[in-house]
């Protein structure tokens, strides 16, 4: 079990969440300004998951995420400017501008994407964990995916294979209640995703994904389990996206009162309140952090704006590794 964070850690955790929130809001703005294009899936409301889990990982652990992965990249330590530049399609971006919002990569921190095929990242994670296991490295490979992915065959296959081979993989289901416009109960006959772990003899738990400390505690348990050689783990985090699925949708598929109910449990506010009541955070800490974060975001936007386009004659480079550079 994770001990309560100390004041420094609490500060850092709040900072992670504020960075994500401010970054996502900036992305929305930049999308409206048509500097970001394509699909744009924002993480507002779900910050406590990435912030609760990723700081507990080792630098050599691996992460696979979805198209809704800005927050994961930021918490993992990918430079915010490089992430924004990626969304601007600039070669200073973390995927050289080629991937955009859905395909953030960073080999240095072992972030293996940004996978935009729903459930497509689970098998990759199994393989990354297999590589660690076979090479006797004490790493954990973490896969983030939405609850919509739990219906895909690869969810079933991957959990089985990981459990069968007792691989060091942590599967994190970010259950934000909707897959695009489809409510969980309209896509799953059994809506408790973590219970599906029983089909594979897999350890699992569910946690309030709006409560950063709860996520952190559950994640520590899960990571200890996996790193301790006890096989994979499925952690379901109940959460909610505060914005539309991708940049725009009319959100007719969900009720305003449902949105309001979840918004009332904003993970940033919840954590700030709790950390303050625990004496871990000064009353004005958030304000100060917010200013810091806003400045970082502004700098990231400026960095992206100053970015350059990859020359067109490099279009075919890196289709293969040996393409002339």
């Amino acid at each position: 079990m994770a001990p309560l964070p100390d004041a420094g850690t609490a500060h850092a955790l709040l900072r992670h969440m504020l960075r994500i929130r401010a970054f996502e809001d900036a992305c929305a703005e930049q999308y409206s300004a048509t500097r970001i294009r394509g699909f744009l899936h924002l993480y507002n409301g779900e910050e406590a998951i990435a912030a609760g889990i990723i700081p507990l990982l080792d630098a050599a652990d691996a992460i696979v995420a979805t198209y809704r992965e800005h927050g994961h990249a930021l918490v993992r330590g990918v430079d915010m400017g490089a992430v924004m530049a990626e969304m601007f399609g600039m070669q200073e971006g973390c995927s050289r501008g080629r991937g955009g919002s859905m395909h953030l990569f960073d080999a240095a921190t072992r972030l293996y994407g940004g996978n935009a095929i729903v459930a497509g990242g689970l098998p990759l994670t199994v393989g990354l964990a297999l590589a660690d296991a076979m090479q006797q490295r004490p790493q954990v490979s973490v896969c983030f995916f939405g609850e919509g992915a739990a219906a895909e065959g690869e969810f079933h296959e991957s959990l089985n294979l990981a459990a069968l081979w007792k691989l060091p993989a942590l599967f994190v289901c970010e259950n934000n209640q909707y897959a695009m416009g489809t409510a969980l109960a309209r896509s799953e006959a059994e809506t408790d995703i973590h219970l599906k772990a029983r089909s594979y003899g897999l350890a699992s738990a569910a946690v309030d994904g709006m409560d950063l400390l709860a996520v952190r505690e559950a994640a520590q348990t899960a990571i200890d389990h996996v790193r301790g050689g006890h096989g994979p783990y499925l952690l379901e985090c109940h959460t909610f996206r505060f914005r539309a699925h991708s940049m725009f949708d009319s959100q007719l598929y969900r009720d305003k009162t449902e949105v309001a109910r979840w918004r009332a449990r904003d993970p940033i506010d919840l954590f700030e309140r709790e950390a303050r009541s625990l004496g871990l955070l000064a009353d004005d800490a958030r304000t100060a952090l917010q200013a810091e974060v806003d400045a970082e975001v502004a700098a990231a936007v400026a960095f992206a704006e100053a970015g350059t386009l990859e020359p067109v004659d490099r279009l075919t480079h890196d289709v293969y590794t040996d393409t002339p550079a």
């Binding site: 895909e152 065959g153 416009g181 279009l315």
Partner: protein
């Protein structure tokens, strides 16, 4: 004949609405076709109009809801399965190839699979490497399937009915860049499933294309006309079976062909058309058929690279001039 104009999306929605209204065996099933109204908003309003039984939101399970469409067709229904985009259809390709396309022949003709599978295809919206494929030739390669690519508002309005009337599985490709396109809705009752259409007559060179590349090809033909080159533009409409007669009649006359295909060049449908032209009218050709295809790269996100990866008007014009020796 033009009665009115509407968008391709609206035409497709009208086609769906009519199909659902006309035949109680027809139903629509796929991810987010109901509450959400379709990922490209094609089916907006249909759930409200026809109810949950006829407009079915499915879980994210491409292989199974496609296979269920095959089973439902075996069971006497006329399912329309929507796979959001061709990119995700690979998850269902086993069902499509090994079951939908195969059951009739393999059973000695005992069963038919009257199934329609619609999917969006193509690039142009900066959706990057996992959302921008044009994999038409993978499907056009498969015996037992018919494959169509309505490229005009009128075809969008009417080809679905033809597909549903067909007793065999039909794949419908809808290019993502066409949905917002406005065009005339011709006052016709129906259009045939098969057969290419000459969208513009011309005598100097034949430009052969389909789907999302049709508007670009027509624009290229305009530009060529400005140069005194009269290009004939053929819209394949149906990618399997191909309408050899229309192609050969045109190329036999113009003696020159350019094929425009958003698929990756190697192994493309354009290659098949080139091979057929050479097999059938080799001695009438004044130049080898040219291909304008996508660059052989996963389609990148940024606009300048996406544009560079796809067939564009300039490239079509240049290829046409090239086969005319005026490059």
């Amino acid at each position: 004949m033009s009665a009115a104009t509407c968008t391709y999306r609206e035409a497709m929605r009208q086609a769906l609405r009519q199909a659902l209204a006309d035949d109680p065996r027809v139903f629509l099933m796929g991810e987010d076709v109901g509450r959400y109204g379709g990922c490209y908003a094609v089916s907006k309003g249909l759930l409200e109009e026809f109810g949950e039984d006829r407009v079915r939101d499915t879980p994210l399970s491409e292989s199974t809801f496609t296979g269920a469409g095959i089973g439902a067709a075996l069971g006497g229904l006329r399912p329309i399965v929507e796979i959001m985009t061709v990119n995700f259809s690979l998850l269902a390709l086993d069902q499509i190839l090994n079951n939908a396309a195969t059951l009739r022949h393999m059973s000695g003709g005992q069963v038919s699979v009257p199934l329609v599978i619609r999917m969006a295809t193509g690039a142009g919206r900066q959706l990057a490497a996992q959302h921008s494929h044009s994999l038409e030739n993978i499907y056009a390669h498969i015996p037992g399937l018919k494959v169509i690519a309505p490229a005009t508002v009128t075809d969008a309005r009417h080809m679905l009915a033809a597909a549903l009337a067909d007793p065999d599985p039909v794949i419908v490709f809808e290019h993502v860049m066409l949905y917002n396109a406005d065009g005339p809705l011709d006052a016709v009752e129906s259009v045939p499933l098969g057969g290419a259409a000459v969208r513009r007559p011309g005598r100097d060179v034949t430009l052969i294309t389909y789907g999302g590349s049709l508007p670009k090809t027509l624009t290229a033909a305009e530009q060529l006309a400005g140069d005194g080159i009269e290009a004939e533009v053929i819209d394949l409409r149906c990618l399997r079976p191909l309408d050899d007669a229309t192609i050969m009649a045109s190329v036999g006359r113009t003696r020159r062909a350019v094929i425009v295909d958003e698929g990756w060049r190697s192994g493309s449908l354009a290659a098949e058309i080139s091979a057929r032209i050479v097999e059938q009218v080799f001695y009438d050709l004044d130049a080898p058929p040219a291909r304008v295809c996508s660059a052989e790269v996963p389609i990148p996100y940024p606009k300048h690279l996406e544009d560079a990866a796809l067939p564009q008007v300039d490239g079509i014009v240049a290829a046409a001039r090239g086969v005319l020796g005026r490059g």
